[in-house]
Symmetry: C2
Subunit: 301 residues, 2 copies
């Protein structure tokens, strides 16, 4: 059996590097997912996830996260949670509950605090200042929709267990209480030990119309490689949605199957990180190419 991990955006490199060590040492993929995402959540340089994430229209940092177990199909999700250091850890904990696995707002905060998850002021002086400037200059839709980079991770361990996780502060200047794709099963993530795990990043309002992670998982079950499945699910959806509605936001997906094979698709310049037992942690750059295909090259630093 092999192991592997794939994660969205180059910001995940340090976290994936730590998680790859866990996997190489035989630790479960759920630990690898949580570890990789917590590294991104802790880093204030990354303004779309966790500490230092950009606030909503009211100046509050509202955090979304999810965790899925490919063995039991158990899911945990939080939405619009505030001032908890590691949303991914709360989502993972919720995936172990029998009921009330998906909590929002004050309910998510109550759960996190009752279960002892660390409280932390997630708004930094820098993001508060940036928010104030944008409010004064009336941030436009364009400013808003270009800041929505969730960290999403799929990991496979030596024992064939797949997990997915994701974490984000959502789009900058979002409405209070807004949910994107990150906490939404099927739209933001899906995972089945018998097949594959998939997670997304991009404009949640469009991703929730496509159910790409679930669709890609099904295509892999039908025999496609992860790359073929990503290409086949993502590009026709993007073109169809543009045709129907006249606009399309950023859409990117990463997938890894039960054998550690992986694939991606995107309509932007999309960086992502992969590590497996035969590939040291490496950052790649993906772009859409002709004929519903994806070009992938190693990214510069």
């Amino acid at each position: 059996m092999t192991w592997g991990i794939i994660a969205t955006w180059k910001m995940s490199l340090a976290g994936v590097t730590k998680a790859a060590e866990l996997l190489a040492n035989g630790r479960p993929s759920g630990d690898a997912v949580e570890s990789a995402i917590e590294d991104v959540e802790d880093n204030p340089q990354f303004n779309t996830v966790g500490y230092g994430g950009l606030p909503n229209a009211e100046g509050a940092v509202e955090l979304d996260a999810s965790f899925m177990n490919g063995d039991t199909l158990s899911i945990g999700s939080v939405a619009s949670m505030t001032d908890i250091a590691h949303p991914i850890a709360v989502a993972r904990s919720l995936s172990h509950e029998q009921l009330n696995n998906f909590l929002s707002g004050g309910g998510a905060n109550n759960y996190a605090q009752r279960h002892g998850f660390a409280v932390k002021t997630m708004l930094t002086p820098e993001t508060q200042t940036y928010w104030g400037k944008q409010v004064r200059k009336n941030a436009t839709r364009h400013d808003v929709i270009n800041t929505h980079d969730s960290v999403g991770v799929v990991s496979l361990d030596y024992r064939g267990r797949l997990h997915t996780g994701s974490s984000t502060s959502g789009i900058f200047m979002k409405a209070k209480g807004r949910l994107g794709d990150a906490p939404l099963p099927g739209a933001g993530f899906y995972c089945d030990n018998h097949i594959a795990g998939v997670t997304t990043t991009g404009l949640g309002e469009d991703l929730m119309k496509g159910m790409l992670p679930f669709k890609i998982t099904q295509l892999i079950a039908d025999g496609l490689t992860p790359q073929e499945a990503c290409d086949k699910a993502v590009y026709p959806f993007i073109d169809d949605l543009y045709h129907r509605s006249g606009h399309i936001g950023a859409v990117s997906v990463v997938a890894m199957d039960k054998n550690g094979e992986w694939g991606v698709a995107t309509n932007v310049d999309f960086t992502f990180v992969v590590a497996t037992d035969s590939l040291k942690p490496t950052t790649f750059l993906a772009k859409r190419a002709a004929g519903n295909t994806t070009t992938i090259e190693e990214a510069g630093i």
Copy 2:
């Protein structure tokens, strides 16, 4: 072109009857969906939807709803909204927004009040009394998971437009901020004018693992009838989830395709209502039968 409407639970009969008149008079399916659901939301006899819905563990009635347009794939959802008379109308309004289509908690309330939706105290004296009794006797998990009947509606109009909608107060004694399947795209509903619309009712925590509405839509696109697609998607999922996790909650789905053909599947005694241009509003009872099939008979009053 034909028209049709299908809705979960016999409580939807009066609403479907009104909606069928709208459809027969050439009105759009979006109006039919909203009208049918508002009738259920207004009726305090129905303790799982809208006014008179059962409260959460803290005694508050938190409301979830969704609306989807099968032409544009536009989605509007609210979760954990309080004291707004018609959650379905708020969800429909959100489906017209360019961003922030899915709002929870205070954010959903802010939107509803800013857009002039009627405020109403949704807790009735009867449900408050019932809640108090259950708190005093420490309601069990069994009490809780047997109260989760969302109203879900799929409608097709003369012009071939499909819409879905759903509305619920969620499971009785749920945690504050808990989301079920009703507001979740792909898990609680999906709709595409080119194919079909599907919506669910049952235990949200399990339904969000199955992505049944999206899967059924895909199977219908592949050539199955709505009934074949419901049977093929639902029963293997139910058995697989039971095998993986050792338990399974209630799961029911209703589907209608672009030609007004319909299907259902369920693992409980499931009542639902159908009306088409060739069938007056009729309540049916569905049960699971051998060989992954469904028996359907007209229900007594």
